[in-house]
């Protein structure tokens, strides 16, 4: 046997892995396009690839900054984009956005990583090497679930080339310098735009590392990897800030001396782009300086804190399977031990006599779902806005929509279509229900504000069907209340809220 022969040529082989990875990175998107057909979404009608890239762009673009994009925000933006692609099929836009997001989260494989196998032919024996990656994933932030892009998604965001971002950032600066020297201003605008995206990409990659410094899970190498990466990032950013200033000055001075209109316009765009790049670098530097302190504190804490307990437990194999084969009276001991602990804390509440009396007097109301435990207004929270109430802006917007019906009768479906957001639409819907069938035991603390909004309105059912994204049932006709209205003709249940 001779040593392994080259597959194509030494030069081609040297870059094979990187090029193979660039190919693999786009496969999840090809896969989501294929799967969309099963969900009844036609790729010829909606450009799913562009929507997937838009999702990645939205997430990456928000990652380097203080507040990441929430799942809901990205879903809404994608819905709007999809609706723009096919205004005649706007009703499908939300489904399209869901399919794209689910595909990027790898819903088809329980949200696990995408895995591809590379056949490494460089040695004597063929080695199969897995390449596993995520594109988007979900994290819990203090303001809800947010989307986070992986390094691979950031690569996709930057032309799909598997390059080191910091190297790319530096290389782009050289290219830009060259183009400016050669007075190739149009090319320089494109390079500056690419430089801006690269810096946003770096900010996104580092925000993940900075987040890791705050977390208390031991998934990072605190001794070597994290401090090293922080140091490299800081050196890079500091160097770039100096360069950014020099560039800006260079283009700015050229701009002042330049007389050609085209060149002035191009230079102006370059100045704007470079200004944004500089801002991203400055923000990053500030966060990196802070991260060092957090990191040092975390290092001390990790050294001193006792490890709670080992989590060597494969739930499916070690607990679920054995519990399933146990006789039922024994299994219930295991499952109850698990359930009691997994439900977390409950705050005991004392019954107040007044409340109890009110509850006993109130006519029974049927609920399908279990009664949620009402939250105590605790400590300083009492002064804050009640999360159960609609924000004032939403109430105001709903009032404006409903005021239209006071002037001339309007269909609920038209009112819903005229709402700026789902929250406003929900409140309009509730108010319409209220106008149709007021609840005789309503108290003054009605949390949704629909009582007040529905005042002076009457709703009438003339048999027209409503089939809206948020509600199905009868399309009520709303108008200013007449002195005496007839009793309701259909049950409140007949208008059913569709979970948004």
């Amino acid at each position: 046997m001779t040593a392994a022969a080259s597959v194509v040529s030494p030069a081609a082989d040297a870059t094979a892995r990187a090029r193979w990875r660039a190919l693999a990175l786009t496969d999840p998107i090809a896969r989501l396009v294929r799967n969309a057909a099963h969900a009844g979404i036609d790729d010829e009608l909606f450009d799913l690839r562009q929507l997937a890239l838009a999702a990645v762009d939205l997430v990456v673009g928000s990652m380097g900054f203080a507040r990441e994009a929430t799942l809901e925000e990205v879903a809404e933006d994608l819905t709007a984009l999809a609706a723009r692609m096919r205004p005649d099929r706007a009703h499908q836009a939300r489904d399209v956005a869901q399919v794209v997001l689910k595909g990027l989260l790898n819903e088809a494989h329980e949200h696990r990583r995408f895995t591809y196998w590379f056949a490494d032919l460089s040695g004597e024996r063929v080695e199969r090497e897995p390449y596993s990656f995520r594109l988007l994933s979900l994290r819990e932030a203090e303001y809800g679930p947010v989307l986070v892009a992986s390094d691979q998604a950031i690569t996709l965001f930057l032309h799909g080339l598997d390059v080191d971002l910091e190297d790319a950032d530096r290389a782009l600066a050289h290219v830009l310098q060259r183009q400016l020297d050669d007075r190739r201003f149009d090319a320089a605008v494109r390079t500056a735009a690419q430089a801006e995206r690269t810096s946003v990409g770096i900010a996104a990659t580092l925000s993940e590392l900075l987040d890791a410094t705050r977390r208390d899970v031991g998934s990072h190498d605190w001794l070597v990897d994290v401090p090293e990466r922080l140091a490299i990032a800081r050196r890079h950013v500091e160097e770039r800030i100096g360069e950014d200033d020099r560039f800006l000055e260079h283009v700015q001075s050229g701009l002042d001396a330049e007389t050609s209109g085209d060149v002035r316009a191009a230079s102006g765009r370059i100045v704007d782009l470079l200004g944004r790049v500089r801002q991203v670098h400055l923000d990053l530097e500030r966060r990196l300086v802070g991260a060092r302190e957090v990191f040092l504190a975390a290092q001390v804490r990790q050294r001193l804190a006792k490890r709670r307990r080992l989590r060597m437990l494969a739930l499916g194999e070690d607990v679920l399977r054995p519990a399933l084969v146990l006789p039922r009276e024994q299994a219930v001991e295991v499952t109850t031990a698990f359930a009691d602990r997994s439900l977390g804390v409950s705050v005991p509440r004392l019954v107040r006599f007044d409340d109890l009396l009110d509850q006993l007097w109130a006519p029974p109301r049927q609920r399908e779902a279990v009664e949620p435990v009402t939250e105590e207004a605790g400590l300083d929270e009492a002064a804050e806005e009640d999360v159960q109430r609609y924000p004032a802006a939403v109430v105001e917007a709903a009032r404006e929509v409903l005021d239209g019906a006071r002037v001339e009768p309007a269909r609920l479906s038209d009112l819903l279509d005229g709402c700026g957001s789902d929250e406003v639409a929900e409140l309009v819907l509730l108010s319409a229900l209220w106008a149709f069938a007021p609840d005789p035991v309503a108290d003054e603390e009605e949390p949704d504000g629909s009582v007040e909004l529905a005042a002076g309105l009457a709703a009438e059912d003339d048999g027209t069907r409503l089939d809206h994204r948020l509600a199905r049932g009868r399309d009520l006709l709303l108008r200013a209340a007449a002195p005496e209205e007839g009793g309701p003709g259909v049950e409140e249940d007949e208008l059913e809220l569709v979970a948004p």
Binding site: K102, P145, R301, L313, L315, L326, P327, F338, V347, L379
Partner: protein, 241 residues
């Protein structure tokens, strides 16, 4: 012992405030809030951390972690803050078993391996997929365990209770009715939402839920171990018998 340290009363008050925030399911440590300041203090000051941990212990609570969404507390069983499955709804043994299996199924579906407990990624679960997961686990067992135990023993196994229950029964309005496994899963996820252990992911579909860091930590550091201990105890008794 000379390692007792007197705690400053203002520190004790701050620690109590942090524990109180942990008990409120809707409190969120957003930038600039008191909650966030206390949480950062807990993360960075070892002394304050000790005061909080000690105070929580005295109240029958354990601090499991401090992810971005806030401090996660686990109750001591039998303590003032403990939640019992039986408190949520009156149910007979079979119903309690199915609910317990469903909660265990949700956790096993989301965190099949130990490494998943350390992964801060928020897991998504879908009502129908959890049911499929449990039913396929039961099918695999029934396929493999064909020869094990007498037919009578197999008929009494917990898996049969779940397998016997229909997947779906609907009400007149087309909703899921009680008595089917999909409804049990929906209710169990509803409880988890009420407990701050899950959230509805309506932007991904009507039956999709996120499991929060709170659920991950509760399962990893409290519930999983408790279930394993219960299993070991049963095996010890069985082995001794």
């Amino acid at each position: 012992m000379s390692n007792s340290v007197a705690a400053d009363l203002t520190e004790v008050r701050a620690a109590a405030e942090l524990v109180a925030f942990g008990l409120q399911r809707r409190a969120r440590p957003v930038e600039g809030s008191d909650y966030r300041a206390l949480l950062d203090r807990y993360r960075s000051e070892l002394r304050f951390r000790d005061v909080v941990d000690t105070m929580a212990e005295g109240l029958g609570l354990e601090v499991l972690g401090t992810p971005r969404s806030g401090i996660v507390l686990a109750p001591e069983p039998g303590g003032a803050f403990a939640t019992r499955l039986a408190d949520l709804r009156t149910m007979d043994q079979a119903e309690r078993l199915v609910f317990g299996l469903v909660l265990l199924g949700i956790a096993a579906y989301a965190y099949p391996q130990d490494v998943d407990f350390d992964d801060p990624e928020t897991k998504l679960v879908d009502v129908v997929k959890v049911d499929e997961f449990l039913r396929s686990a039961i099918d695999t067992l029934q396929g493999q365990e064909g020869g094990e135990g007498t037919p009578e023993e197999r008929a009494r196994a917990a898996a049969e209770v779940y397998a016997d229950m229909p997947q779906l029964i609907t009400t007149q309005t087309g909703r899921r009715a009680r008595g089917c496994t999909l409804k049990v899963i929906e209710d169990a996820l509803g409880w988890l939402v009420d407990q701050g252990a899950a959230r509805e992911a309506t932007s991904l579909g009507p039956d999709v839920y996120h499991l929060t860091d709170r659920f991950r930590l509760l399962v990893a550091d409290s519930a999983g171990g408790a279930a394993l201990d219960a299993l070991r105890e049963l095996r010890a008794v069985g082995g001794a018998a």
